[in-house]
Amino acid sequence: MKQPLHLINPTVKAAAVFCCVVMLSFIYNPYTPACFYIIIVAGVLLAAGIPLKKWLLFTIPFLILAFGCVWTAAVFGKVPTTPDNFLFQAGPISINSDNVSVGISLGFRILCFSALSMMFVFTTDPILFMLSLVQQCRLSPKLAYGVIAGFRFLPLLKDEVQLIQQAHKIRGGAAESGIINKISALKRYTIPLLASAIRKAERTALAMESKGFTGSRNRTYYRTLSVNRRDWVFFCLVLLLFAGSFLVSLCFAS
């Protein structure tokens, strides 16, 4: 089913994410990212129809990462500890509130990045994103169709690995057990995998050219994408929501 977020032009969606990330990277107070995070999660769950369970499952790795950033900033932060901001003593290191607040800000920043990117990935068709880059951002069609052709090989990689495994087995190659053996076996897999991928790519390129693909910009498209009013409304709405969460932080600060 098509949800409102699925219909937004992929380039506009990506641009909105870029703008948010750039603006977020100038912010070191914890209130703005925290507030923005709540807004994104609420907005995406409502407007993209992503099941809550799937969302939570994908959030777990980022929670771990965010936790790492919080404690690193708290322990290795650059603000020196003074009696004013002293929080508690953890062994030889004293923790101060300024570094902790920066850490929480960085943690929420990561959660915001993850929420924005999940919003993008869950609601965007990869092929449409490439086509939109060609039609809206003047990406070279030669490059774009090359990448789309390569993208098609992705599901085949797993089969290819299995094939190599069977080929090794049939020639009496030892089965890998243990971590050290597995790492040393990595080369036996990487090179054949890349070699067969390159051969396939060569054949694909030949097929593309023999069917008249020149990669010139002067071409027609089966699917044309455009930027219309709905896309601009979406873009402005995202910026407004960010401005809103920035205002919230001003209220807290004073």
């Binding site: 990506a14 994410v17 870029f18 990330v21 990277s25 070191y28 994908f58 790795p61 771990i64 990462l65 790492g68 950033c69 404690w71 690193t72 900033a73 322990v75 290795f76 932060g77 650059k78 570094n99 920066v102 850490g103 800000s105 960085l106 990561i110 990045f113 993850s114 924005l116 990117s117 999940m118 993008f120 990935v121 994103f129 030669k142 490059l143 090359g146 990448v147 052709a149 390569g150 993208f151 090989f153 992705l154 990689l157 080369k187 090179i191 054949p192 890349l194 070699a195 991928a197 390159i198 051969r199 396939k200 790519a201 060569e202 694909t204 390129a205 030949l206 593309m208 050219e209 990669g215």
Partner: protein, 199 residues
């Protein structure tokens, strides 16, 4: 992109796509480590994320190979579901520019091991500047940052430069690169060696 053959572009994207999968695995691996040890856990493995630049530039030897391959790998990583989403494309551009700058300095003529290692280190420096601002590393103390930078430089030289060259050379020996710059160079080398032997 005008001087590029369709073949070179498709081969470059396929290699970038294979390594995008590797990149993503390392991203998740690094994220778990970073949860335990903080962002410094990324540094020893950081070089792996520059390897496509080195491989593509070394194989194709055309201006832009290092930059474009890294962008494709980042793009595919984004489409597969990287934590940073479309932002990973910007990271890819930054890292690719770092490597490309080194190749530019040699006017895309020299592809010896030291140059490839320098290219990996170029990506290290560029990505570190990015992290300083966007990932908020600027909030850490200078001593901690210096340790991070040194580890990342070493990782870039070894995991991207050295490993990238090793992978490309092994690939060239299989013969699949015969139509490309690296394969042609290898053929010439072999011919010279056999002439030497017959004399």
């Amino acid at each position: 992109m005008k001087s590029w053959k369709v073949k070179e572009i498709v081969i470059m994207s396929v290699i970038s796509i294979v390594f995008a999968v590797v990149y993503l695995l390392f991203t998740h691996f690094g994220n778990v480590l970073a949860g335990m040890f903080g962002p410094i856990a990324y540094e020893p493995i950081y070089g792996i994320w520059f390897i496509v630049s080195v491989i593509a530039a070394y194989m194709i030897r055309k201006p832009g190979a290092a930059l474009v391959s890294e962008i494709i790998a980042a793009l595919v990583e984004c489409l597969l579901g990287n934590p940073s989403g479309p932002m990973v494309i910007v990271i890819g551009i930054v890292q690719g520019l770092g490597a490309e700058a080194v190749f530019l300095a040699t006017r895309w003529k020299a592809y010896s091991l030291p140059v490839l290692m320098l290219a990996g280190m170029g990506s290290s420096v560029a990505s570190f500047i990015y992290d300083l601002f966007v990932s908020g590393y600027a909030a850490y103390s200078p001593g901690y940052l210096l340790i991070m930078l040194v580890i990342r430089l070493i990782s870039g030289a070894l995991l991207a430069g050295l490993l990238g060259k090793a992978v490309s050379d092994s690939l060239a020996y299989t013969g699949v690169l015969n139509g490309m710059a690296l394969g042609k160079e290898l053929k010439k080398k072999r011919k010279r060696a056999s002439e030497h032997a017959s004399l």
